[in-house]
């Protein structure tokens, strides 16, 4: 009996027949995540409903030396939940309980399959909310958010998942269960909770999350301003930061992104404007109102051609619908597209966008831009048509854009993760020793390399590089050369 067949038998006993998928057709449902360009059919998909069941699955995999990949809603855009052919997928979609809402302590305990937005909805009656808000928050799960250290439009002011998670119940790659973190942010010893957040499912599987909730702000002011150029929109953002104002969100869309969004949801953006800037301020009513006036003044000083201030919650929601729908909407103007996720120092945005436009022109491909302007997180959408044989060119351009961000002093990813997609670009951002150190940490958690293998760090299978941790070059060992 093969290891997989053996596992199927063992785990059917643990999870019941409904918790084990082995039908080849059904398995194909799990062959990719939101990054559909990479597809691998797993050997088995498991659907546990409790931490104990996840632990049992992982222990069985550990014993059988079978690789396993955790998966939430599958909305990741970097191939982080891509299955391993001879491995299993552990879907956490059935772990959707809001275990505890604790308004007195401004926290909630949830299972990993709960969607991001469901948390805020569940605590709204207490005037509380969960701050990190990825654009996919209606469908993406908190477990996936933890894996990717997700951000969203409001993280400029409020921070990322890592700033809002107090504790994580985690099944380690050997099947043991531990809590990382604790009931308060103060924990004795090294911060393993913080290390787990953003580790893309490679250090263990999170089965419980204690999130910190924030009090809803008293006032929220939102505007949509049109600008004659992206540069002027960007300068407005610089001036706002320079004035010591930290808005809850600042988002820019270019003409192509607006065109796509309007075609899909018709949120009332100006079709012909070269750039639209969404600014949202929140906080205590008096101060927020005062700062909002200052922000509008700065928009005018930078040549805004039109400002639309959201008069009420419905109009605010409409403005945000236009922004948050932009990715999916691009499907209306292009058969296929890649979403890139690089970050540049905010002050180099104009330079980055100019170069991206030139690179797009050179490649003969359109690039739409939607980005978190406050923190320099770009989301260039590289549009292409597979039928016209543009896939390879688009992929190459997308990768080049990510690496351009690193050249400009930024990062390969701001919120979508490295996953499978960008693992081979990691050496562009990090040196050999940096990667080897990350690998050492990974080995401490997962010496057998079974937990979401092939993700985050470059591997020979993916990139054709020399495997293994850092080993000194013979010349280095002899003291002839040195590295820093």
């Amino acid at each position: 009996m093969t290891a997989i067949a053996d596992l199927r038998e063992t785990l059917t006993t643990v999870l019941g027949p409904a918790g084990v998928i082995s039908d080849p057709v059904e398995l194909r449902t799990y062959e990719c995540d939101g990054l559909a360009g990479y597809r691998v059919v797993p050997s088995l998909v498991l659907l546990p409903t409790t931490t104990a069941e996840v632990a049992a699955v992982v222990r069985a995999c550990h014993r059988a030396k079978v690789p396993f990949v955790a998966r939430g809603a599958g909305t990741g855009l970097s191939g982080g939940a891509l299955p391993v052919a001879e491995g299993v997928v552990i879907s956490l979609q059935r772990m959707r309980a809001l275990v505890e809402v604790d308004p007195a302590n401004h926290r909630a305990v949830v299972q990993p399959g709960v969607t991001n937005l469901a948390i805020s909805r569940a605590v709204a009656s207490h005037d509380l909310y969960y701050a990190p808000d990825p654009s996919s928050q209606q469908v993406c799960t908190i477990g996936g958010n933890v894996a990717e250290n997700s951000g969203g439009a409001h993280c400029l002011k409020y921070g990322f998942t890592t700033n809002h998670v107090l504790a994580l119940e985690t099944v380690l790659p050997d099947g043991s269960v531990v809590w990382l973190g604790g009931p308060s942010p103060e924990v004795a010893g090294p911060d393993l909770r913080g290390l787990m957040v953003g580790s893309e499912g490679t250090l263990g599987i999170v089965t419980g999350v204690v999130v910190r909730l924030l009090r809803k702000p008293e006032a929220v002011h939102t505007l949509l301003a049109d600008f004659p150029s992206i540069e002027q929109a960007g300068n407005t953002v610089t001036d706002i930061i320079g004035a010591g104002i930290v808005p809850a969100a600042m988002e820019i869309m270019d003409q192509l992104a607006i065109e796509a969004s309007e075609a899909a949801v018709g949120a009332g953006y100006t079709l012909e404007t070269p750039a639209a800037l969404v600014i949202e301020l929140d906080g205590p009513a008096d101060e927020c109102g005062e700062l909002f006036e200052a922000v509008q003044e700065l928009c005018h000083r930078n040549g805004t051609t039109k400002i639309r201030v959201a008069a009420d919650d419905a109009e605010r929601a409409r403005i945000w619908t236009g922004r948050k729908a932009a990715f999916a909407a691009v499907g209306r103007i292009s058969p296929q597209y890649f979403v890139q996720d690089g970050v540049v120092p905010r002050t180099r945005l104009a330079e980055a966008l100019g170069t991206i436009a030139a690179m797009g022109a050179e490649a003969g491909l359109r690039v739409a831009n939607v980005f978190h302007a406050g923190d320099g997180n770009l989301h260039p959408l590289v549009l292409y048509d597979d039928a016209r044989g543009e896939h390879e060119r688009a992929e190459k351009l997308s990768k080049a854009i990510a690496e351009l961000c690193v050249d400009l002093g930024g990062s390969l990813s701001g919120e979508h993760g490295i996953g499978t997609d960008k693992a081979c670009s990691m050496p562009v951002m990090f040196g050999e020793d940096d990667l080897a150190t990350m690998d050492r940490v990974r080995r401490a958690f997962d010496p057998d390399g079974l937990c979401n293998p092939g993700k985050v760090l470059p591997t020979p299978r993916l990139c054709g590089e020399k495997p293994g941790p850092y080993r000194p070059h013979p010349l280095e060992a002899d003291g002839v050369i040195e590295r820093l």
């Binding site: 700033n163 604790g182 308060s184 004795a188 120092p345 990350m438 401490a444 590295r483």
Partner: protein, 396 residues
Amino acid sequence: MSSSVSDRTSTGELPTVRPTDLAQARDAMRDAARAGHRVLVRGAGTAQSWGAPVEPVDVVVDTTGLDRLVAYNPADMTVAVGAGMTMADLQDRLKGQRVALDAARIPAGATVGGLLATGDGGPLRASYGTLRDLVIGITVVLADGTVARSGGHVIKNVAGYDLTKLFAGSLGSFGLVAEVVLRVHPRPEASRTLAVPCPVTAAVPVAGVVLSSPLEPVAVDWHDGRLLVRFEGTAAGAATRAEKARELLGRGEVLGGDSEEAAWSGLAALVRGEEGRTVLRAGTRPDQLAEFAELLGSLADRHGVTAALTAGVGVGVSTVALAGGTPAGHGAVLAAWRARVLAAGGSVTVHRAAEGVLESAPAWGPAPATAPLLRAIKQQLDADHRLAPGRFAPWF
């Protein structure tokens, strides 16, 4: 050049290396590795008493020479500094901005790297977290001299493992923090603090009234018979909100200027502690404050010790200073209080122990469930256990 490490580490003078750049820091660690030397990494030394006493070491690597301002980009809200720069110095160099951290040790000269390695935070942690929440990139030197970078210079970045977090709270056991990139925030125009007299047992419900309002205090701490609720913002905004909070609670005094400063520095003095005191920090669920404060009071009475407590009410972080009585009395209070905090899922760290206390109560409690993992990480990063040996004994 040589210097003593600390009374609890060694009584003699030890060879000390004081690198002034990354290459020298790398060399210092590599030289120590080649010689098989045990190493204590030390910044300003304001937290050398945290955790268990370090066993004798062969060399001290003093990071205070790594005090360069590497890059400051106010428009990007980022600053990169050598880890040996004092936080006070860094704050002075920022223009209209600040690192939103107010740990009690900062006026005593605590370094940026030291504040990260201890995971320390002050009252502002309620809004901004501790340094782990503000650091966006680090460069470390491992025990074998490997120089490794994590994170970067942009505030939004999820590429690779966030090793910053691993070093936060590691007390120098995993490597030398050489360079730190931080995100900064605008310095608020003004602050006001509402001081409300109330017993610690009432602090949670009183604070709850403000915390469930939309007044957005940045810090809510109980200290010395008063709840201190701090507001920051525009001059008019901070004053208005403090006044609104006073109206909401129906009492209290709005402090500004010197009186506000005095209230918060009194709290910081308790947290810093002084010779002869035992200082503990606990993390608990916020609403357990009254229960643990009462328990502390009764334990202190039973063992003839004075216990002073201050607490970040909204976040559940308490600092306790034990004074008077005997070392055994301090030890007994530590052991019994910790046992109850641990049973409730919390944690206690020893920041300072009066002489002799650790003979009756260990610096660390029972090993947590994560101990095997911590040991595995230590093995990967410092296989010979040469860095800060004993600091986390017996956990790892």
